[in-house]
């Protein structure tokens, strides 16, 4: 087992016919992801094919139609920022229970409204501004390079794309596989939080250890630390980026900013240490630390 997605997940890609959508859909299909439908308003009825003509996917005008015709149960969103919030709401309205939104640059207030609208609906959405979700060797819903991941029993949750790759690559190089890897994204209002991801991994019998990669800004890592302290017995290895970041300056991600005396890396690291996590000083230590943690628990 894994969390969120597996080989049976049927994916509809919103924005399939766009440049980004087309490129990454092909990469996902190559990885083995079941992409059963695409949605582009006004292009319903056409059949999408990749640049090599290897795959054929039917395109619909609405997600509702796509779900009805193909039984899609997860959506991967590549539509431009101005239309992305609308796309998430459309997928939710069509009964999709897992939505992964890759789009970067969505207005914050749009996501505040989406978050409010989806409260209590049971819809799980990941992102925006994220690399997506992958269950290695089963299903890739995102833009991550598939070959650096390996099937296994370590869950990874991260706010940063390239740091996720860095961590997964170090694990894979050491022969340690991953159950599921979730990029929750670098925006200030993420659909899925660190805490929620850690909770899912904690409840997954096939995840033995959890890697949590955070960064400055917000209090998501502190909230996860609280949960870890109370409920998690599995080893947690953590890294927080941004020790050197000055307050008040946004470090690339809209969400990576220390403001109002909140969200600095040190307090996050301390909270995680106090919760019993193994905290790395540099990302170069992640692989080594996971190996150590697994060995200490007799899991490797």
């Amino acid at each position: 087992m894994s969390i969120l997605i597996n080989k049976n997940t049927k994916v509809v890609v919103q924005g399939l016919t766009g440049k980004e959508g087309s490129f990454h859909a092909k990469q996902c299909l190559d990885y083995g992801t079941q992409i059963v439908a695409g949605v582009t308003p006004g292009k319903g009825g056409m059949t999408w094919t990749d640049d090599e003509g290897k795959y054929k996917v039917p395109v619909f005008n609405t997600v509702e139609e796509a779900v009805k015709e193909t039984g899609a149960d997860a959506s991967l969103i590549f539509v431009p920022p101005a239309f992305a919030a609308d796309a998430i709401m459309e997928a939710a309205d069509a009964g999709i229970k897992l939505i992964v939104c890759i789009t970067e640059g969505i207005p914050v207030n749009d996501m505040v409204k989406v978050k409010r609208a989806l409260e209590g609906t049971g819809v799980r959405y990941v992102g925006p501004n994220c690399p997506g979700v992958i269950t290695p060797e089963e299903c890739k819903m995102g833009i991550m390079p598939g070959h650096i991941f390996k099937k296994g029993r370590v869950g990874i949750v991260s706010r940063s794309g390239t740091l996720t790759y860095e961590a997964a690559y170090q694990l894979t190089s050491r022969g340690i596989g991953q159950s599921t890897v979730i990029g929750i994204g670098g925006d200030p209002v993420p659909g899925t939080t660190h805490r929620e991801a850690v909770e899912m991994f904690n409840c997954d019998p096939e995840t033995d250890a959890i890697v949590l990669i955070g960064e400055i800004g917000g209090t998501m890592e502190e909230e996860a630390a609280e949960y870890i302290k109370e409920c998690v017995d599995k080893p947690v290895v953590a890294y927080i980026a941004g020790v050197t970041a000055p307050p008040g300056r946004r470090m690339g991600h809209a969400g990576a900013i220390i403001s109002g005396g909140k969200g600095d890396a040190k307090s996050k690291m301390e909270a995680l240490k106090a919760a019993g996590a193994y905290v790395c000083n540099t990302p170069a230590e992640i692989g080594e630390m996971v190996e150590k943690a697994l060995k200490e628990r007799g899991l490797l």
């Binding site: 990469q27 920022p81 101005a82 640059g105 969505i106 207005p107 914050v108 207030n109 505040v112 409204k113 978050k115 409010r116 609208a117 833009i143 991550m144 390079p145 070959h147 650096i148 991260s158 706010r159 940063s160 794309g161 390239t162 740091l163 996720t164 790759y165 860095e166 690559y169 670098g186 200030p188 209002v189 990669i213 960064e215 400055i216 800004g217 917000g218 209090t219 998501m220 909230e223 890294y239 980026a241 941004g242 020790v243 050197t244 970041a245 000055p246 008040g248 300056r249 946004r250 470090m251 690339g252 991600h253 809209a254 990576a256 109002g260 005396g261 890396a265 540099t282 990302p283 170069a284």
Partner: protein, 389 residues
């Protein structure tokens, strides 16, 4: 995006919020005329810069005559205002001349996103005028908080709740206060603000509320739907290197150290800075070249790093995912040729096709110091910056 106080007050006025009468002046003569026109016994001369803490830094001064206003304006305009928020200082290109107000009591009103609950939150305190961040640390109970439901906006009862908690009793004042808060909530959503702050909101001796200061920050991601606001941007208030970076769509933040960093991905870029620091070095910047790292962008990034005279060594840290390492290596080689690198360059490449990428760098004839991993690269960069490599 930030705007000036006088611009924020124009917007406040459009929304019907009470602000003092004021006139913008670009030189001493204009300032003197403005003070005469306002005609109050005292006017306030306020430096227009994108920084808080202006009062303490000498950017807000009282003038008892139009001549004095002119004199103060002459001193301010053309100089740089150094504040605790911006020690390097920002250029003062204009001042706002405002009528004096009979202050009875000062309040703080702020509205911004509370990331813990993903909703905007009002923060109001009867201890206004002082440094609110200090109060938040020492006496957080003095700040009244109220969240706004994005589906319905602030409701009048919420504003009333705050009014009573900060000790308002006069019915006229309460009704003025409620109207101000309701308007701010409306503005926040309509204009896609990320922060609205009034510090201080003043109760006058005549028993009226007036917004003595006004600050609005906007969500960059939403500017596309507010072209009129986009026009308010004042690029003189932005670091010239950061401005240049923006042209190339590079995420760049200048720091104080001497090791220039070029990294793909914001998280990895921060982590690279941290790793340099961990090994005893100081990063000169944050720079995310993004996922594609094309020749043009890498070249622009190199130029940017080299234009900072403090930079003694450059550390390129790239994880090639979808974009293969051989293509990235090609980009680095091409860009390095274009810009004539005169400082040590340490390159760490990892990911897809890494062997080919490394080989290309080796055979390029460029003076590139290869690193086997991030820690190794950071250590080499630290040494190179000290001239030990």
């Amino acid at each position: 995006m930030k705007i000036h106080e006088y611009q924020a007050k124009e917007i406040f006025k459009k929304y019907g919020l009470p602000v003092p009468r004021g006139i913008v002046a670009h030189n001493a003569h204009e300032a003197e005329c403005a003070a005469k026109e306002l005609g109050t016994p005292v006017v306030v001369v306020k430096a227009q810069v994108h920084a808080g803490g202006r009062g303490k830094a000498g950017g807000v001064k009282l003038a008892k005559s139009p001549e004095e206003a002119g004199k103060i304006a002459a001193e301010m305009i053309g100089s740089r205002l150094r504040t605790y928020q911006n020690p390097e200082g920002l250029p003062i290109n204009c001042v706002l001349i405002e009528e004096g107000v009979n202050i009875d009591k000062e309040f703080y009103v702020g509205l911004t996103l509370d990331r813990e609950v993903s909703r905007p939150v009002f923060m109001v305190s009867a201890a206004g005028g002082m440094e609110i961040e200090e109060i938040a640390k020492t006496n957080p109970e003095l700040i009244i908080k109220e969240h706004v439901d994005p589906a319905i906006g602030l409701l009048p009862y919420q504003a009333r709740k705050i009014a009573f908690k900060i000790g308002l009793t006069d019915r006229k004042l309460i009704s003025q206060f409620v109207k101000i808060l309701m308007t701010l909530s409306k503005m926040y959503f309509e204009l896609d603000a990320s922060l609205i702050e009034i510090n201080p909101l003043v109760k006058t001796k005549e028993d009226n509320f007036i917004c003595l200061d006004a600050k609005i920050d906007f969500d960059d991601n939403a500017l596309y739907r507010h072209p009129d606001i986009q026009e308010l941007e004042d690029t003189t208030q932005i670091d010239p290197l950061e401005l240049e970076a923006k042209k190339w769509d590079l995420n760049y933040v200048r720091l104080d150290g001497n090791i220039g960093c070029m990294v793909n991905g914001a998280g990895l870029a921060m982590a690279t800075m941290d790793t340099i620091k961990f090994f005893g070095g100081e990063p000169a910047n944050f720079l995310d070249v993004g996922g594609t790292a094309t020749v043009e962008r890498v070249a622009a990034a190199f130029k940017l790093l080299l234009s900072d005279p403090k930079v003694k060594a450059i550390f390129v840290n790239i994880f090639g995912g979808i974009v293969r390492c051989d293509r990235i290596a090609g980009g680095i080689i091409e860009a390095a040729k274009q810009v004539e690198l005169d400082r040590p360059l340490i390159v760490r490449l990892e990911g897809t096709n890494v062997e080919l990428g490394r080989k290309m760098l080796e055979e390029s004839g460029l003076n590139i110091i290869p690193a086997k991993d991030m820690a190794d690269g950071a250590q080499k960069a630290v040494k190179a910056a000290k001239g030990e490599l």
